[in-house]
Symmetry: C2
Subunit: 173 residues, 2 copies
């Protein structure tokens, strides 16, 4: 599938509602457990998504579109949520993510990105030159990947309980 | 996490809304592609879930609870959706799934299953003796596994488009 801005926004703008429907009001036993050391719970993931709204996707889009003197992206802190989420409930995080994503989708639409601008580049701290199209594609995949992750983390909590069915429940492998 | 009926219902009763929020109104390009030969598109998955509502989870629960002479489950047809979904739109399938799941959750609640009944058994065509607790756990994992699947299938459509980010987008591996 070729990158298409309109179709990308279809996914990006529904992610907060998907996560709220998937996680809102669940017993904490579902949302606070992870897959073991150095892995994230659904609660951690929402904090991570919030950090991305504040520091990653739209700020980097702006750097590329402006084509200024310094097109280097600020490195992304993959652990910021452990500090930033402190004291907040999952419901607060879900609402915060929804609000921020709403602002960012509005900003993205206002940019009226033209097809030829998708080839403009910025400088990623590790990958070096990346295009705007790649950045926006990665944003969509990143959203879907975290929906995969939170669903998988919760599924694994019933691995033992499912007995022999584990064989056909690939998400548990 | 130990099996808990109330907490299981928290997941089971939200699955139709999660899938509707995730898939409803998306461009068909997102929902009709699969991961290659013998794999399923999001559209196929919803048809599969509908078949499960009609023939698998609640019918098998009833067989176990009744403890009649024949406790053998009817084998599950994992390909029924290719016939049954014909001519139906994704939106029709999502609505049908929501309606059936609603009936089945109502039926499940009405059964007032007691903790000791979770140890009752039925006969699975392949696994032989399985408990009601294992069946209901597998139902929850099955739901979450298919949310994982449809999200992963859609994410992979932007694999090429994401360029170097593929390295950190584990859902694409």
């Amino acid at each position: 599938m070729n990158f298409n801005l309109k179709k990308s926004i279809e996914i990006l703008e529904r992610t907060p509602s998907v996560l709220e429907t998937l996680l809102g009001g669940l017993s904490p036993e579902w949302t606070t457990q992870n897959e073991g050391e150095n892995t994230w719970s659904p609660y951690d993931v929402i904090g991570h998504l919030i950090h991305g709204e504040n520091t990653d996707w739209i700020p980097r889009t702006k750097i590329i579109l402006e084509q200024g003197e310094d097109m280097a992206f600020v490195p992304y802190d993959r652990f910021a949520q452990f500090e930033n989420s402190k004291g907040k409930s999952l419901q607060q995080l879900l609402s915060e993510f929804k609000k921020l994503r709403g602002f960012n989708i509005k900003a993205l639409k206002k940019m009226n990105i033209r097809d030829e601008e998708l080839e403009l580049t910025g400088i990623h701290p590790e990958f070096r030159e990346v295009t705007l199209g790649q950045l926006l594609s990665a944003w969509v995949v990143h959203d879907l990947g975290h929906i995969v992750q939170v669903s998988r983390v919760m599924a694994k909590l019933y691995k033992e309980e499912s007995g022999p069915w584990v064989k056909y429940l690939k998400v548990l492998h």
